[in-house]
């Protein structure tokens, strides 16, 4: 009982407190990998704690069951109903209510998660299939198609096979190096399995609506995977092409990547702090590319995130050990 309560208390506290602590550490994407690992570890830590709490309270119910039935019997019998028995009935009823409600909550969450993941997988696959059938192949690019639409957009969709879609509106505002950067970004998502992270985190957000760790966490994981794909695209296509491609698609107006490279968009000539504190994906990404974190800053953030990750991973086993001792 103590163990179950300790783990539940931790899970509830972490589900509401961790987002407040982690979000400032991962917002600027100083250390993308450590950030992703920290968010995912936090989610796993809370889920494991809740699952172990359910298991402990179920075990308590099973162990106390004979005693409970005896107590109930005596209380119905009347005269034998001593205060000790009465107290124990309340205690055990409490345990049963806790176990049953936790199990129900777990079952509802699992059902919501499963429904969301199944639907999302079906829709994702059918979108990819249709895109590959309807879109016109882009020369020299496997699994990459163009759809006619004046709105500039580019996206990838997981599936069997996966597809990368670029609209005619996007092609109209991108020069060849920028298109290469966009395709490198989208390929990075597919190659690194970012869609799987999105499926799981969005499924958890659907399973636990209103729980900040999962709702905020899904959004933060999405932001971090964008930044991770930016980093991959920067390595192959260069920063000027990627930044100008972002701006071109976001604003719908062509920006020459060559001119930007000439003008020194590498980080050194970047504008100083322009952003308010709110989490805004596209401006944050542009700012991050224009003004990359220094090595020291990245290392400090990675260290802080690694510490948080270690504590989150250690919490469930530590609490279980301390409470059962």
């Amino acid at each position: 009982m103590i163990t179950a309560l300790a783990l539940l208390g931790y899970a509830a506290c972490a589900a509401w407190c961790v987002p407040v602590l982690l979000a400032p550490l991962t917002r600027r994407g100083a250390s993308v990998r450590a950030g992703l690992a920290a968010w995912l570890t936090a989610m796993a830590s809370v889920l494991v704690s809740a699952a172990v709490a359910i298991q402990f309270s179920l075990r308590t119910v099973a162990a106390d069951w004979p005693q409970l039935t005896r107590a109930l019997c005596r209380s119905v019998a009347g005269g034998a109903c001593t205060p000790a028995v009465y107290g124990s009935v309340v205690y055990q009823a409490g345990v049963i209510v806790l176990a049953v409600s936790l199990t129900l909550a777990g079952a509802v969450a699992a059902w919501r998660y499963g429904r969301r993941v199944r639907r999302s997988r079906a829709q994702t696959r059918s979108h990819a299939r249709a895109a590959l059938l309807v879109g016109r192949a882009i020369a020299g690019q496997a699994r990459t198609v163009m759809l006619d639409d004046p709105r500039p957009a580019a996206y990838c969709v997981a599936g069997r096979p996966a597809a990368i879609v670029v609209t005619s509106g996007a092609l109209a505002v991108l020069d060849p190096p920028q298109l290469a950067a966009v395709l490198a970004h989208e390929s990075a998502h597919l190659a690194h399995g970012h869609h799987a992270l999105a499926t799981v985190t969005r499924g958890l957000a659907a399973a636990f609506p209103g729980v900040p760790l999962f709702t905020r966490g899904a959004a933060e994981v999405a932001r971090l995977t964008e930044m991770a794909a930016d980093d991959t695209a920067t390595r192959s296509s260069g920063r000027p092409a990627l930044v100008t491609a972002l701006i071109a698609i976001a604003t719908g107006a062509a920006v020459s990547s060559a001119a930007a490279a000439g003008a020194g968009i590498r980080g050194a000539a970047a504008p100083a702090g322009t952003m308010a504190a709110a989490a805004r994906a596209v401006p944050d990404r542009v700012e991050r590319l224009l003004r990359p974190s220094s090595r020291a800053r990245a290392a400090a953030f990675a260290a802080a995130l690694t510490l948080a990750l270690t504590l989150l991973a250690a919490a469930p086993p530590a609490l279980t050990f301390l409470a059962t001792r």
Binding site: D149, T274, E287
Partner: protein
């Protein structure tokens, strides 16, 4: 399996480009000049596309005449609607290069760009 999906795409593109209705024979004759392909392959692929709801067909003598259920533009529009819908409306996992921006985000981006322009010569 990949190859088969690719052939489906090739056939659909041909049928859309062609306009009107086509028999398996028409399409086979057209493709034979360009790629090594068997009549039965074209036939089974078109049958698959019919089963999956992409092609409608009607009997014309001994053969079927096929035509697209909807135009390429209609399918494109449907896909773009799904892709552009807000996160709540679509359950497909699409990863946009640039997510749809709200007003404050556009303003923030314009602010970055203004500073950028100042920073550039």
């Amino acid at each position: 399996m990949h190859g088969f999906g690719e052939l489906e795409a090739v056939l659909m593109q041909r049928i859309w480009d062609h306009g009107g209705t086509l028999t398996v024979r028409d399409l086979f004759e057209e493709l034979r000049g360009e790629r090594n392909i068997a009549y039965t392959t074209v036939m089974s692929t078109m049958d698959n596309l019919h089963r999956k709801g992409w092609l409608a067909r009607e009997r014309d003598g001994k053969a079927y005449r096929y035509k697209p259920v909807a135009s390429r533009e209609e399918y494109s529009a449907r896909l773009m609607r799904e892709a552009m819908a807000g996160a709540g409306d679509t359950e497909a996992v699409l990863s946009h290069f640039v997510a749809q921006m709200d007003g404050s985000e556009s303003a923030a981006l314009r602010a970055v760009l203004a500073k950028l322009r100042d920073a550039l010569p």
